[in-house]
């Protein structure tokens, strides 16, 4: 599948109708999501024929992108059942298979090394400090091959130091820096739209 085609399909997905600020629910834009999964597959071979988990999947954008790129089994994990219902409808619309589990990612219980790759757009931790790092810590335990994640560029040094020292990562690499447009979703947003710089990371667990 070509990048443009993937981006087009993801652009048609339903997003949060009533986003919940306490969960930092922001849709993952189709521009970012398509590039993230496209490089995971085409530069690293971490998606096709793999078992992929999407942590904090929301409406399923990243997991569905993985399914479209040939992942054999995709599991979306999210705390919010309303988001999972939207994600499930999105999967049906795209006619791809995706599994869902309602769970707080921090309490996710699993066994074995079945999950190859974790993809995620974690809460950036602006409402609840450290939320993105909690996700990352679990992802690096669950994945046997790679973790793809988005984090604010302003936290780059901290992320790198922490994953290598405390989170069982053998490598941490910024694949590219992206602009994340945060649309005006919530009442407290004063500006119509803001751009924040985010890093697309690839982590390899030990």
């Amino acid at each position: 599948m070509k990048l443009k085609q993937l981006e087009g399909l993801l652009g048609s997905l339903e997003q949060f109708s009533h986003p919940k600020i306490e969960l930092e629910q922001y849709p993952t834009g189709h521009h970012i999501a398509s590039r993230m999964l496209f490089s995971a597959e085409n530069s690293f071979g971490d998606i096709g024929d793999k078992v992929v988990a999407d942590f904090g999947c929301g409406c399923g954008t990243l997991g569905l992108a993985a399914a479209l790129l040939g992942a054999e089994h995709v599991i979306g994990v999210d705390i919010d059942v309303e988001s999972l219902a939207v994600a499930s409808a999105n999967a049906e619309d795209l006619e791809v298979d995706m599994e869902f589990v309602q769970c707080d990612v921090r309490n996710f219980g699993w066994r074995g090394q079945i999950i190859d790759t974790v993809v995620m757009n974690p809460p950036f931790g602006t409402r609840r400090k450290g939320a993105d790092m909690d996700f990352l810590s679990v992802a690096l335990k669950v994945a046997s091959q790679a973790v793809y994640s988005l984090h604010k560029t302003s936290t780059r040094d901290y992320v790198k130091r922490t994953v290598l020292r405390d989170y069982n990562a053998s490598s941490a690499e910024v694949i590219c820096e992206l602009r994340y447009d945060v649309p005006k979703l919530y009442k407290f947003h004063k500006k119509k739209e803001v751009d924040i710089a985010v890093d697309l990371w690839r982590f390899v667990p030990k």
Partner: protein, 123 residues
Amino acid sequence: MKLLTHNMLSSNIKGVTNGFPLKIEAEKIIERPVEINPVFLKNMFAKLEWKPLVEASRTMGFSELPEDVPDMSVLDSDEFLQKFHHALLEIHLEEGALVCPETGRKFPVQKGIPNMMLHEDEV
């Protein structure tokens, strides 16, 4: 929920030392055909817990998997692969529950989605 997902999910309640495998209570089961991928199945075979898969598929009304862990050589048999594929990826638990093997706590499954949320005192 497919049985491949079941084969990796575990109860994570505080104090539980072995939350796997979750017992299945099936109320509604559906089947959805998917294309078979022998390379993927061979790769999964090595990572799965066989007995929980056999037990889970039996609970879901499919009893054609061998009871004991078969030898790797069965992976060359198309007939075996077809059954393995069906059990792992085509049978879905649509409504029912997953039960923690240690505490008996039930995690409901609705519209195919297991609710593994823990209560405050279980974290």
